[in-house]
Amino acid sequence: MTVISPSAVSVESEETGPASLPFLRRMLKHHMVCAGGGLVLFLAALALAAPVLTGLGYLQDPMQQLADGLDADGLPIPPGDRFLLGTDQLGRDVLARLVHGTRISLLVGIVAMLIAVCVGVTVGMLAGFHGGWVNTLLMRGTDVMLAIPGLLLAIAFAGLMDGRVIRIHFESLDWHVLDITLKRGLISVFLVIGLVSWTWIARTIRSQVLILKTREFVTSSRAIGCSDIRIMVRHLLPNILPLTIVLGSLATANTVLLDAGLSYLGVGVPPPAPSWGTMIAEGQPYFIVSPHLTMAPGLFIVTAVVGFNLLGQGLQEVLDPYVKEGQGR
């Protein structure tokens, strides 16, 4: 699980045609954006269509243990005509589980990315814009988070929050409203992954805000009496939006990988939900007789992550989101 600091991935820009070309056409002419976007859209379409496909009978039910799902020896059936990707150790259709698993993986990946982006942009913007003690406090905090291996933090967090009740209440007040049950499930996985992946987003955003805030439009908005919050939201945010999109896309590649990793280790979305990582973990004891149980989910994970990585790197080249030091006066 590598965290990719985006500043390092900058591939030198290729010719993207004359600047007058409309933005959308420029995007469509870019191979990486097309390929990545295509993969992501394909998976998203699969995720959305999964229940319909099952309803119409094109896909099996992902939870159903089929009567003909195991062979005479009780072993999983290899890929073939009857089951396109074979069946798993309980006689469930692997293709159906993978397609339904797309729903979980993309949902976790995207929601966790949104959490990470929200936290990262807020922290980065506040630290970059305010400077002083706000900057020191936030950035030192970020440095501490960077020093703790994210995966360790995530498994500690995820493993510990299994089905416990958190009570934010004071002895004298009887506020049961504030009791929160944290069951290991979608919500906890969103939180865990989101809260360990925001650090490099915050750092990148901060360095950009540091450059942007010396620009004239910031000085002039302050001169006409804009509040700090207004400057940040109305003037700085639109300027870092392209960067945020690029960072978000690259972050999704990491959150999808992290989700698969946590499920694999047994601290992700709990079974029987068809999560890709869980499928690999459950299938690997059968690797020698039924390698498809491990191969197929792996290929789905790789497809999704390659998709988001391609999209992110492609967008990085097309949008060219990094503000240069000397640009503008």
Binding site: A8, V11, G150, L152, A156, R164, A260, I280, V302
Partner: protein
């Protein structure tokens, strides 16, 4: 120089203190009940309460934290709730495995990515450049645990080139380290490539070529030395991510290191052990960053202070 070292150490202390706060909050704010684990499944409510009081789990959080820090400063990380072993002893026993795995992985990926980066920068835009770009993009997208399983089966089990799993000497480290290195190499090759392309366009490289210095010397002596500096910085930042990868490879290859220990203690709700592992890994990351910092100064003597 001395002031720089002192500042660096002070900084490391601050980071580690921050780590204790964060891990303590996570472990205690999410009230998984470690006492119940310690007391066992058949303990009655009275016993549980007695143990809770004895072990100080019902004190206010701040008191517990103060006690933890006090013990920590005396070098005591507590004892495991499950095995009764001292946490520090357990960590030190597992540490050599993880350290050798991480070091071998770093060496392997630097050895692979630097030549690849230089090569693709030299032949920029040609077929080899494209091929490396595509392969590395797929490689960084591979789940480590999946790749580890594949390599373990095809390279170790089927062909017998490497030991399949377990820990009995340095040959057991190669395949796990190679797994980690394969995933990351492409990314570093790209990093070296990008910096190298920039450096090769610089005036001093043109001068070097004009003087008739052989091409290999231009590339490796004049070019690489400057191109590798930003790579070193990123290496420091990636140490934490490497520790994450270690958890997966250790689990797949059954190496008795910190990663396996971390996972076990999470499943056992062994709170002192969880805190110990996280803190210890953070300390490893901080130390690695200090080393990286000095390598950086050695390669680029112009760098002064932070």
């Amino acid at each position: 120089m001395l002031s720089r070292i002192l500042r660096r150490l002070g900084w490391a202390a601050v980071i580690l203190w921050g780590t204790t706060v964060i891990t303590f909050l996570i472990v205690h704010a999410v009230p998984a009940d470690p006492v119940r684990v310690y007391a066992g499944a058949n303990a009655d409510a009275e016993t549980i309460e007695r143990i809770r009081t004895e072990m100080g789990f019902d004190d206010p959080l701040i008191v517990q934290y103060g006690r933890y820090i006090g013990n920590l400063l005396r070098g005591d990380l507590g004892t495991s709730l499950v095995t009764g072993e001292r946490v520090l002893d357990a960590l030190l026993a597992k540490f050599p495995v993880t350290l050798s795995l991480a070091l071998t992985a770093v060496c392997l990926w630097m050895l692979m990515s630097v030549p690849l980066g230089v090569l693709t920068a030299k032949y920029r835009g040609r077929a080899i450049d494209r091929a490396v770009l595509i392969v590395s993009l797929v490689a960084i997208s591979l789940p480590v645990f999946w790749l580890a399983r594949m390599l373990q089966y095809y390279l170790a089990y089927r062909t017998g080139l490497f030991p399949v799993a377990g820990w009995a000497g340095w040959t057991h480290i190669i395949l796990p380290a190679a797994t980690l290195a394969l995933v990351i190499t492409g990314y570093y090759a790209r990093l070296v490539h990008t910096n190298m392309v920039e450096v090769l366009n610089a005036d001093y490289v043109r001068v070097a070529r004009a003087k008739g210095i052989p091409e290999y010397a231009v590339l490796f002596k004049h070019g690489l030395r400057n191109a590798v500096i930003p790579v070193i910085t990123v290496l420091g930042l990636d140490m934490a991510a490497l520790m994450g990868g270690v958890v997966f490879t250790e689990n797949v290859f059954a190496l008795p290191g910190l990663g396996v220990l971390a996972l076990q203690s999470v499943f056992n709700l062994d709170v002192p052990m969880i805190m110990g592992v996280v803190l210890f890994s953070a300390a490893m990351v901080v130390c690695a960053n200090i080393v990286v910092d000095f390598v950086y100064m050695w390669i680029d003597p112009r760098v002064e202070g932070m």
